[in-house]
């Protein structure tokens, strides 16, 4: 038996022994997702136990080095772990912007002390992070951000405002882009800093979205003191880190549609609408669903191929823009078809039958996918410029 086969066998056995049965059922609502953090209230003992056991193995962040709370697994082992978790229906033990975005940036740009300080707490779900990127006046043109950080000796003095800060009202710390040189060209005066959301002068205001949920906030900084030790990388060179981190954000958002519900949309539609001669009664919708399923499966293969290419150094550095663009547009298409298949049932907004309008809210939420993390249009600009080398792009 090869090492990987042995690893698969052991992993399966471990998951079977350690993943509580409740954590093997599909998530039913928002609070089934564990985000961790200082103020996290576990929905159940099973949720707590599952996080603790996975964190103990380092498997909340399987590819990170063991010294920083990771599992030290190779890419192939991580792939196997994910496959086995999917096969058993295991939920993610911990979702976190610390894992998806900040962690990779810290691993690449953080000092030894910064890594030791922050990475293990991310891995164990002890600190919940939010991202301070967009501003009311800096959306697609992110580099025009105006939040200032003035040099005050040992500290920066931060003033300004961020918007679309996911879960800022629930987060413990923020990773934040600030302008440290107002006179430099816009990409060259930006720095990347970390600070505690409990610092004096930080306040948040939730924004209610069309889905009725408030996953985003506007966040205000009023004379916030940030120790200079919390600067990541080099002063005024934060844009490089910001871009690196964005590629991870794009991969995360682009992959959303493929993990949301892995049941065939055709099967879901067949259950809700019924079939005639084994085919969906609405043949036009059937064709649209089949086309979507084809694109979705080919996209999953593309994520796999891009990963395999990265491993042998063949992936284009801007390929995350392809994944982000394609994955989010696909997810929006999927949810339009979910709504079409669900008919009037999918329109219900409240009550147990509709799980408080789960489908309608998911449909509305999906519209943000092609806006957040860089709009689809921005991704197409990046592909045109960096991959196709079109002039003036």
């Amino acid at each position: 038996m090869s090492d990987l086969e042995t690893f698969r066998k052991e992993t399966r056995a471990w998951l079977e022994a350690n993943c509580p049965p409740e954590m093997r059922r599909p998530t039913q609502s928002e609070d089934d997702t564990c985000w961790g953090g200082r103020n996290w209230k576990f929905k159940s003992d099973a949720q707590r136990l599952w996080l603790e056991r996975m964190a103990e193995k380092g498997w909340t962040v399987p590819e990170w080095p063991r010294e920083f709370g990771g599992g030290g697994l190779s890419r192939d082992e991580t792939k196997i772990l994910r496959q086995e978790m999917r096969a058993l229906g295991c939920r993610s033990p911990l979702d976190s912007f610390g894992i998806w975005m900040l962690g990779p940036a810290l691993l690449k740009y953080g000092s030894e002390a910064q890594k030791r300080e922050h990475l293990p707490k991310i891995a164990r779900g002890e600190i919940r992070w939010c991202q301070g990127y967009s501003e009311p006046g800096a959306g697609s043109d992110l580099a025009s951000l105006q939040t200032r950080a003035e040099d005050k000796g040992d500290n920066f003095l931060v003033n300004g405002s961020k918007i679309w800060t996911s879960y800022a009202d629930k987060a413990d710390w923020i990773f934040c882009l600030v302008r440290t040189d107002p006179n430099a060209p816009k990409h060259e005066g930006i720095s990347f800093v970390l600070f505690d959301m409990e610092s004096a002068g930080v306040s948040t205001k939730p924004i209610t979205l069309i889905s009725g949920a408030s996953p985003f906030c506007q966040t205000f900084f009023d004379d916030v003191l940030v120790p200079k030790a919390n600067l990541i990388g080099t002063l005024n060179k934060g844009w490089e880190i910001a871009k690196y981190l964005l590629t991870h954000e794009r991969d995360m958002i682009g992959g959303m549609g493929s993990t949301a519900d892995n049941r065939s949309l055709g099967k879901i539609a067949a259950e809700t609408m019924g079939t005639e001669n084994g085919m969906l009664a609405d043949t036009v919708l059937r064709g649209q669903i089949a086309a979507l399923e084809i694109d979705a499966q080919a996209f999953r293969l593309t994520m796999e191929r891009v990963g395999d290419m990265a491993k042998v150094g063949q992936a284009h550095p801007a390929v995350s823009s392809l994944l982000k663009y394609y994955g989010t547009e696909l997810n929006k298409r999927r949810l339009e078809l979910v709504m079409a298949a669900g008919g009037s049932d999918a329109l219900e907004w409240e009550g147990k039958r509709s799980r408080n309008g789960y489908q309608a809210r998911a449909w509305l939420r999906s519209k943000a996918n092609s806006i957040e993390g860089g709009t689809s249009e921005v991704q197409l600009n990046i592909v045109a410029k960096r991959i196709l080398n079109l002039p003036g792009a």
């Binding site: 067949a270 191929r305 395999d308 663009y325």
Partner: protein, 379 residues
């Protein structure tokens, strides 16, 4: 299996690209067309393919072939797609060689495979009877006569049908049109009495024919596989063809796309390169994404044929559906973005549009394969 080419496969790709670019560029297709070449392909070029071993690319080594896999076959198909080179590679080296290698008796393998490898035999697969690909609707009859069979009916869209030395024919020996049971495959000499081929020049200048079968006698030894049970060999063979054509479509669409992006960089209007206009940049970037997504599906299909031949049907349909759709978009955008010059016969880009339309139709278009996948998923 990682979804990337191995070093050996990449080397084959580079060699094929170099060889075809030199020996069978698009001018080669034009010459065959403009001289109304009676064969529709170059026998010298085929001889070169034979010398490189390509005629036996899928044939097991014990019969003199290279014994390579479907990924390698797809690599060559993709390169053929880039230069639109017509050749019997698909009909003979892939379809016939695969059908006989997997479905043939020892005697049939010994009889045909070495002669395919040596270039002595050109073979064609005769399946379709109607304008749309519906293999289960096979209606050409083979009725038992003495120890053998008598075939009556007609086939259409037979690739290389008018130049083939042997034909592999799907016939109905039981059941009714629409049943996949009751279909039998026969290997016949194309000169058998009662067989007549009419070459049907197609929009893309590649070979196709209509073939009539009038009281054609076939011995029991002409049956490929088992009587009434030809479906699984046929499906397997068609899957090879579908994945191969998908790979060809990848090559054709990427070449058309590459030429288009080059044109966007060079062509100036309103005092700047047209590639500076965001309206065109976004369409080009979108198309790039579509082509990359298709490439993943096609490579996976070819790998699955190598690793798990009998379960490859679904991913092959995925690949053919994707390739048909994205290649169609690629050539439409190519002509549109080239503007007026893209409409001229003198310019090559229209030739890609023609070949892609044929490739889309061959062995089932995107709609056929979407329907097939929906059925496999019970909706």
């Amino acid at each position: 299996m990682a979804l990337v080419l191995t070093d050996e496969q990449a080397m084959l790709r580079d060699n094929a690209r170099g060889f075809l670019g030199k020996n069978a560029p698009i001018a080669h297709l034009r010459q065959l067309r403009d001289t109304r070449d009676p064969d529709g392909f170059s026998r010298q070029l085929w001889k070169d393919f034979v010398e490189m071993g390509w005629a036996g690319i899928l044939v097991p080594q014990e019969y003199g072939g290279l014994g390579l896999g479907h990924v390698e076959a797809g690599v060559v198909m993709e390169e053929l797609g880039r230069t639109l080179a017509p050749s019997p590679f698909l009909s003979t080296a892939l379809l016939a060689a695969s059908a006989i290698s997997r479905g043939g008796s020892d005697a049939q393998k010994k009889k045909y495979l070495p002669r395919i490898v040596s270039g002595e035999l050109i073979a064609a697969l005769a399946i379709d009877e109607t304008a749309k690909h519906r293999p289960e609707k096979t209606a050409l009859t083979a009725t038992r006569t003495g120890n053998g069979f008598t075939l009556n009916g007609a086939k259409t869209f037979v690739v290389d049908g008018h130049v083939a030395d042997i034909l592999i024919v799907a016939a109905r020996t039981a059941g009714a049109s629409g049943d996949n049971k009751g279909i039998t495959l026969f290997v016949l000499d194309s000169k058998t009495k009662g067989i007549s081929a009419e070459r049907t020049p197609m929009v893309d200048t590649h070979n196709a024919a209509r073939i009539k079968f009038e009281n054609v006698s076939a011995g029991a030894d002409a049956v490929l596989g088992k009587v009434d049970a030809g479906w699984s060999i046929l499906e397997g063979t068609l899957n090879v063809g579908r994945a191969a054509v998908a790979a060809e479509l990848v090559g054709a669409s990427e070449e058309a796309f590459g030429r288009t992006v080059g044109y966007l960089r060079e062509r100036k209007q309103f005092g700047k390169a047209i590639g500076e206009f965001q309206a065109l940049q976004h369409r080009a970037a979108h198309l790039y994404c579509e082509l990359e997504v298709t490439r993943s599906a096609v490579l996976k299909a070819l790998q699955t044929l190598d690793e798990s031949f009998d379960t490859a049907g679904a991913v092959v349909s995925l690949a053919k559906a994707r390739a048909g759709g994205s290649a169609t978009l690629a050539v439409q955008e190519a002509v549109q973005m080239h503007g007026g010059i893209g409409m001229t016969d003198e310019f090559d880009v229209g030739l890609f549009m023609k070949r892609v339309r044929v490739g889309q139709e061959l062995f089932g278009d995107a709609n056929f394969h979407a329907d097939r996948l929906a059925r496999l998923n019970h909706y």
